[in-house]
Symmetry: C2
Subunit: 477 residues, 2 copies
């Protein structure tokens, strides 16, 4: 027996990332550039993933100073660090066993930080109470999502369990569902209505699952990735009525909650809407809400930390969650510390406040400007069309590919939008992702790129896209 | 439907950690102490887990300096850091996208660090080649172990898949196996022979699985946790012949490889033994070998990083491993950097070498002294008996509990050794773990405590244990 024969069929069913095709191509190009091969660009520009620091956004000084002081406490004696940085580092080290960030922590996170998270949520939700015992800190939101799915989904159920999941959707959640032996039930977001979620479509999707699987959960991303749509309160109320009626667990991926910039948009959490709707909804609908340090203001993707808050969860189930989570021991301690700093930032009057505030405003203003600029430039190009961006950190325009190009893509054995991205990468040195990765209505094609970058990076992205696309349309029209 | 009814039965079968009982008790005691309740100790001493920094071992200065400099590069300009720290930090940041430890990395790890790991393995194994494409960096060794089990084990197989797993064994691996719907097939280590692994017992265990499950893998921990045993080359050769004959995948947990101190013991990797045995073994036996930053010299458990090397794995399977691993995006970047420093430490002549060398020698000498001292003191106490310690970071003595005490434990509904640990915690303020957590032959009882602590911590552990146990034997004899 070789492993190849024995491999878990659920893992075999997981759709591998297209990324590897384009990533290998990017590596090859970078290698050619190093060897002096002449190309119309100096290096590959990579806005494939939502990675602010890679895109030229500067880390928050306060976060980095506190983390460095926690790692090497001798620094605390250096006069160069602001006094509140020193105090915060000392407080945080007080919560670490042996005063070291190198010690394990409680499985669900350092208790003081869990408390801070619950206070943050209560403030965010205008007083709707949040309880520390319902919060689990985790190494990123996708980690907790896939572990909660592991608890929720029964690999041996017949018919299989199903999870309603949006199309388009970033790829890791559907991969987790498939890998656990359950079925992804796609519901389509409405592109023409700015990628709105329509409850009629949820009903259609649920109906389509009959005879195929037993739906147990609904997964929602708000603000949307890759869509950039922000749900209205009314739409959220409709969703809550739907999951209540259909007895579905609600998985609310709210990691982009800090990035809402549409003129009429505001972020409201599912927990708050649920609470405001009152009984029977507020005390029966089971909800998990996710947030993270990667997608929050610090943009510290490399530290790997997030949290999940569970609502209306039976305390007995929390025991299983604890058991499942305990296999990985604990969340990286420096990530937990960054989470503390995210939910409890410097306040007016603190020595670090002026610099922190300025850096925060810069990030926020740049994102607003980038979103406007991206939509404007993309929509000025023939054959590209981007819905208004209201939140999140991505643009996801539709690309109308000429039939002759689609034919050519088939000949080389690539999805048409993957082929488009591959040509864009080769000719303009720009690495973005194809809509195929996220799912899309048949016969439509899209591209996704990160707009959470410095203004200079975004300009260069748009310049390369414009150059390539203009020539592309000439070549294929 | 509430989740309680729908919960995955495999997760329901996972044995929850006893830790929570003792941890809650310790929290309660600490709270009482804070409130001024008088006890024969000032605070709870916790040597439950293998957590060097918690036990008073100082972090390696070089590791912390480089990490701090990577986090806050302005530090690199400070004259207080040695020049090689600055150079190393700059080199490592060069491998991070956007020059930031806050960016995502490749799923399998930063390529330069993966290369370093393969060079380290080649040196360790006296030239047996290691290839970067077979190495995956992961957030801790248990994370990669449970993800590889997810690929290997088929939750829908009938009969179920089985994994041969030692008794005693630290608890996370059996939990992972159960949570994935497979069966743990226990094989007993021979306490009287210093916790030796005997191949006859592997045959017996395999035989016992007939009609119950289909064995697919053998899990081994060498050096042992909790046993402290180090396998001989001869024993490893026998194991390799066994897995080859029985067509089992070999999971070699070798995270304690840097801690071998028995007079006649030496660490030899399974990969090296496999290579030295030549064909057919060397090119057919499928092997995964695990190591980590937590259990290696840095003892940086809180950073969450390890790696797995796969041997004789079909390249097609590597694709599935990549897909499965990619759900969690990447390993914490600061953990990856600590891994780089672990496999490529300062060399003679480097400015940081003298301090690094001294700290390393201190850690190593303290562990050797602690191991001797722990065995000596434990074996001087009536009713306690510890096998010689040859490696690892734990002592796992047998405790002969009086029948009247066992009766009393039954009355309070606790396992006898859990009850012993609970009394020890209450009366002497010492938190250690019961043998029940790790599995043990019926009718035998054990305790486990970490010896990877400062000399002062270990003395205090032994003092509290001696005081309590002496009184305990008086009370119950």
């Amino acid at each position: 027996m070789s492993v190849l024969q024995a491999i878990n069929p659920n893992v075999r069913n997981m759709k591998p990332l297209e990324y590897s095709i384009l990533a290998r191509q990017a590596s090859r190009i970078n290698e050619e550039l190093r060897q002096g091969v002449k190309k119309p660009y100096q290096e590959v520009l990579d806005v494939y993933s939502g990675d602010p620091h890679k895109g030229g956004v500067k880390p928050l000084s306060y976060v980095r100073q506190v983390l460095a002081a926690c790692l090497y406490p001798q620094l605390v004696n250096s006069s160069k660090l602001p006094v509140d940085v020193k105090q915060t580092a000392q407080r945080l080290l007080g919560g670490c066993d042996g005063g070291s960030v190198g010690s394990y922590t409680a499985t669900m996170g350092i208790p003081e930080i869990v408390h801070k998270v619950s206070e943050f949520i209560t403030r965010r939700d205008a007083g709707v109470p949040s309880y520390p015992e319902n919060i689990c800190i985790s190494p990123g939101s996708q980690w907790s999502l896939s572990n909660i799915l592991h608890i929720l989904l029964n690999a041996e159920s017949s018919p299989r369990n199903g999870v309603l999941s949006p199309v388009p959707c970033h790829n890791t959640t559907p991969m987790s569902v498939t890998g656990l032996g359950a079925v992804v039930i796609p519901y389509y977001l409405s592109e023409e209505q700015g990628w709105e979620l329509q409850v009629g479509e949820l009903h259609r999707a649920l109906e389509s699952a009959k005879g195929v699987c037993k739906p147990v959960a609904l997964y929602i991303i708000n603000p949307g990735n890759p869509t950039g749509h922000v749900q209205s309160r009314k739409s959220m109320q409709e969703v809550i009525r739907f999951v209540s009626e259909k007895k579905l667990f609600l998985l609310a991926d709210e990691v982009y909650q800090e990035y809402v910039f549409g003129e009429k948009s505001e972020f409201v959490s599912y927990k708050r809407v649920l609470s405001e709707m009152g009984p029977p909804f507020s005390d029966t609908v089971e909800l998990a809400s996710f947030h993270s340090v990667s997608k929050g203001l610090p943009g510290e993707c490399g530290l790997r930390c997030g949290y999940v808050e569970l609502v209306n969860m039976d305390p007995t189930v929390m025991k299983y969650i604890f058991t499942r989570f305990s296999i990985d021991t604990c969340t990286p301690v420096l990530g937990q510390i960054a989470l503390d700093l995210m939910v409890d930032p410097p306040q007016p009057g603190d020595p670090s406040y002026p610099l922190y505030h300025m850096e925060k405003q810069n990030i926020s203003n740049t994102l607003i400007d980038n979103a406007k600029r991206a939509v404007e430039v993309v929509n000025s190009l023939p054959g590209l069309c981007c819905q208004p961006l209201e939140g999140g950190t991505f643009a996801f325009p539709r690309v109308y590919l000429p039939p002759s190009f689609i034919q050519k893509a088939k000949e080389v054995g690539l999805e048409p939008d993957t082929f488009y991205c591959s040509r864009l990468l080769e000719e303009a040195g720009l690495l973005i992702s194809p809509g195929f990765e996220y799912g899309q209505k048949e016969g439509t094609y899209h591209i996704r790129f990160c707009i959470m970058t410095s203004a200079e990076t975004l300009e260069e992205v748009l310049r390369r896209l414009t150059c390539f696309h203009t020539q592309f349309m000439k070549d294929f029209s």
